[in-house]
């Protein structure tokens, strides 16, 4: 895992650095510190990371602008901040966790587990997905998303009106932020189950999930079994 810490107070940045090393151990590929967000942006452009630990209050910067920019990235965001006023909004925008200051190593470990564990999920489901389009961030309400299709390093959000939005995160990362109604039905598909109509089985172990708007999503073999149990059981 590659980690970037964005924190303006050196002592606290050091604390985060030390904790990350101790918690992640060999899983930690690289860890760096930036104390300004624009500096962080430059670093990210050079070498992408998997996780961003972000303080919203950097030298009096506007935390919300930073937040929006961050959650649109390809990496997970964990907020480490003294100001818990913003926690609710941060979760709505799609952060993995919000660690209030002062923090202990145990609390940070709890947050990092959401990244390292398989099927790790955000502490609270997002309400919006931040999408970067033409340099601006637009917030797509999750209510409008029918399913998400993975496309390599990116994910495509398909909305109820048929529009498609491209997001920098992988399908796995995005799935971690979505509410439980979204199921991973296939290696490349995460579907909102409330939009599903019927489950079809075809010969040759091909399975499909038919949506209410008629679209058919392929269902993976193993996942079919789980899905069937969930729907019937």
């Amino acid at each position: 895992m590659r980690v970037l810490i964005v924190e303006d107070e050196p002592l606290l940045a050091g604390r985060l650095d030390r904790f990350c090393r101790e918690i992640l151990n060999t899983r930690l590929e690289s860890i760096r510190v930036a104390n300004r967000f624009d500096e962080a942006g430059a670093t990210l452009a050079e070498s992408p990371v998997d996780l961003l630990l972000l303080d919203l209050n950097l030298h009096g910067e506007d935390g919300m602008a930073l937040l929006e920019s961050s959650v649109a990235g390809s990496f997970h965001t964990i907020i480490v901040s003294a100001n818990t006023e913003h926690a609710l909004r941060a979760f709505e925008y799609g952060v993995l966790d919000f660690v209030p200051k002062p923090f202990t190593q145990a609390r940070l470990a709890q947050a990092l587990a959401r990244v390292t564990e398989r099927d790790g999920r955000a502490a609270a489901a997002a309400k919006y997905i931040a999408v970067r389009k033409l340099g601006k961030i637009s917030l797509v309400p999750i209510d409008r998303v029918i399913y998400v299709q993975g496309a390599g390093a990116y994910a495509e959000l398909v909305l109820e009106d048929g529009t498609r939005e491209l997001h920098d995160k992988t399908l796995e990362k995005l799935h971690a932020l979505l509410p439980p109604v979204f199921e991973r039905v296939h290696k490349s598909y995460v579907v909102r189950m409330s939009a599903a109509k019927a489950l079809h089985a075809h010969e040759g172990n091909q399975h499909e999930l038919e949506l209410q708007n008629g679209v058919r999503i392929p269902v993976g073999r193993t996942r079919y079994k789980e899905l069937k149990e969930k729907l019937l059981g």
């Binding site: 606290l12 009096g60 003294a82």
Partner: protein
């Protein structure tokens, strides 16, 4: 009370309405009746058939005074214009009321004969002051039926005037013939205007008293009350004529008193306007007004016209005040100026009423407007006081919140957590600095001004904490300041905060400096942060906004309008200049224990 004033407005309109002449009536042309006079005393001169053609023709406005007994005769027929409104006919007709009464206001003693019959006396005619007796001013005489008719009639007066007490050597004969009932009705109606105005002015008195008692705008309330009393007195003196028929020697004193009271009311009005608008050249205006009033008094021997000129002098002076106030865009000044100007154009002298009703209508309006302004001012003063209290409470909360806010407190605790694990003794010092800062804040947040010494303690504690947190070497130097001077709480503390947030250290150091230049009246503080601004000047100024907003609110609270603050970049950092009035604490030497505590606390600060 508004009703009284409204009536006061409406009445002049009613009172001045012309009674239209009855259709087809014989309208006499304007010629003056011929009065004839003869000095001496003979009862035969009452006889209507007596031939008075060789008597002196007299100008009825120039009857000699204090000169002994003489007789005056007047022949009255259809063409003699002695009738006053409403028109009446000597003969009487279906369309017209009949002239059946004589009315006179006399400042002399007389016996009145109509067609040879003695109808009325005023006191007793005498040969000298002692033998003469005075009588009431107003007389209303019904002509007996046997003497009514188209005429001609002869009216004879036996006159003496030793008790005439005006300065003049002559007096006017005010006599008229009218339809009695109509005249009396009209007379009653005319009494209403001054009485209504009197009632209105009297009611104003308690209103101003209540304003005074509520504690707002006290000077204004006193002056307003005084003006109300004087105006009420003026109207009473005018109305008295109808209320009580005094002896005619009182007329002069009543008229004089009326004019004097009117002059005083004019002075009071100007004083009130000066107070209302904070007029700067009071002495000069009063001096000018005094001169104008003396001149006005001497412009006419008639008291009513003295009052007219006094009124004009008053209005001109008032216009100077309201005109000046209007040029300064003071609320209400323009409206008042228009009203006063209208009054100046409208005012006319008028016998009996002193001044014409239209003038009173406008004048009442002016006074009403003034009263509204005073009440408005009182309300605004109360509102301002309430705002000030709210502001003080809000600022106290803001100060506490600023330092209890999550960012400062929790970040500091997070730092302490880290430092405890890495460097326990440093952690203890950090906690001590934090405790010191909170201790001072708890003490000063409720104050408007605190000694500079406490403010500096606060700054030192904050620098110690922030230095540890930011990993910089923070230093503070203070030069040439008087630590007993008073400043708003967290004045420089806020600038320290801003420094750590918006400036990066220079070679690992962030240096703060405070210097002051002081004279008796003002103190100039120069607060410098030496470091590298993180953003450009405009950005930095914008970002420092919230903090400086607090400072400005505090400066407004204690020194409204008397402070300045400017900030900007300098060669090696950022500079803030604050100029405030010099306020020193009353010095009380610290006790031994106090001094020890202070020293111990000061030592606790790091760096």
């Amino acid at each position: 009370m508004i009703l009284w004033f409204a009536l006061g407005f409406a009445w002049p309109a009613i009172a001045e309405m012309d009674v239209p002449p009855p259709p087809g009536a014989l309208r006499p042309t304007i010629t003056f009746p011929i009065f004839r006079m003869r000095v001496g005393d003979d009862p035969r001169w009452a006889d209507p058939k007596y031939d008075d053609s060789d008597w002196t023709v007299l100008n009825r406005a120039q009857m000699p005074a204090r000169k002994g007994i003489y007789w005056v005769r007047l022949k009255i027929d259809e063409l003699t214009p002695v009738q006053l409104e409403p028109d009446c006919e000597l003969a009487g007709s279906a369309a017209d009321p009949r002239c059946d009464s004589i009315f006179t206001s006399s400042v002399f003693s007389y016996e009145l004969y109509w067609d040879g019959e003695l109808l009325d006396r005023n006191g007793k005619v005498g040969t000298d002051r002692k033998s003469e007796q005075t009588g009431p001013l107003e007389h209303f005489i019904r002509i007996p039926g046997r003497h009514l008719g188209p005429g001609p009639h002869v009216l004879a007066l036996r006159v003496s005037s030793f008790n005439y007490n005006f300065d003049s050597d002559t007096f006017a004969l005010a006599l008229g013939i009218a339809h009695g009932d109509s005249y009396n009705r009209r007379l009653t109606r005319s009494a209403w205007l001054p009485l209504i105005s009197f009632a209105g002015a009297v009611l104003l008195g308690p209103v101003f008293f209540v304003v005074w008692w509520l504690g707002d705008a006290r000077r204004l309330a006193v002056l307003g009350g005084l003006l109300s009393v004087l105006v009420a007195l003026f109207y009473w003196l005018v109305a008295w004529r109808w209320i009580q028929n005094l002896d005619y020697t009182w007329l002069r004193w009543r008229l004089e008193a009326t004019a004097i009271v009117f002059g005083l009311a004019g002075v009071a009005l100007n004083a009130l306007l000066m107070e209302q608008f904070s007029f700067p050249w009071r002495r000069r205006l009063f001096a000018g007004l005094a001169v104008a009033m003396v001149v006005a008094w001497n412009l006419s021997s008639f008291y009513e016209f003295k009052a007219l000129w006094l009124c004009r002098a008053t209005l001109v002076a008032s216009l100077v005040i309201t005109g000046w106030a209007a040029s300064k865009s003071r609320r209400g000044a323009l409206a008042l100026s228009v009203g006063l100007l209208a009054a100046l154009f409208l005012v006319r002298g008028q016998r009996v009423f002193f001044l014409n009703p239209s003038f009173f209508a406008v004048f009442n309006g002016v006074v009403l407007f003034l009263l509204a302004s005073v009440a408005w001012e009182a309300r605004r003063a109360r509102e301002r006081a309430r705002q000030a209290t709210l502001t003080a409470a809000r600022l106290e909360i803001e100060l506490l919140k600023k330092n209890l806010q999550p960012h400062f407190l929790l970040n500091t605790l997070a730092t302490i957590m880290e430092v405890i694990e890495q460097n326990p003794s440093a952690a203890t010092e950090l906690i001590e600095a934090l405790a010191g800062e909170f201790r001072i804040l708890a003490r000063v947040s409720g104050e408007k001004l605190i000694p500079l010494a406490s403010e500096l303690e606060l700054c030192r504690a904050h620098i110690a904490i922030m230095s540890r947190r930011a990993g910089v070497r923070g230093t503070f130097s203070v030069r040439e300041v008087d630590e007993s001077a008073l400043v708003p709480p967290a004045l420089f503390h806020t600038l320290v905060e801003n420094g750590f947030t918006h400036l990066a250290p220079l070679h690992g150091q962030l240096h703060f400096e405070l210097t002051a230049t002081r004279d008796e009246k003002i103190t100039r503080y120069r607060f410098v942060t030496r470091g590298v601004p993180r953003h450009d000047e405009r950005d930095t100024l914008a970002r420092m906004g919230t903090g400086t907003r607090y400072i400005k609110a505090r400066l407004d609270e204690s020194f409204a309008g008397e402070w300045t603050m400017t900030a900007g970049p300098i060669a090696d950092g950022w500079e803030t200049l604050i100029v405030i009035p010099t306020v020193l604490a009353p010095t009380k030497p610290a006790s031994g224990a106090q001094r020890k505590t202070i020293a111990a606390t000061a030592k606790g600060a790091l760096a």
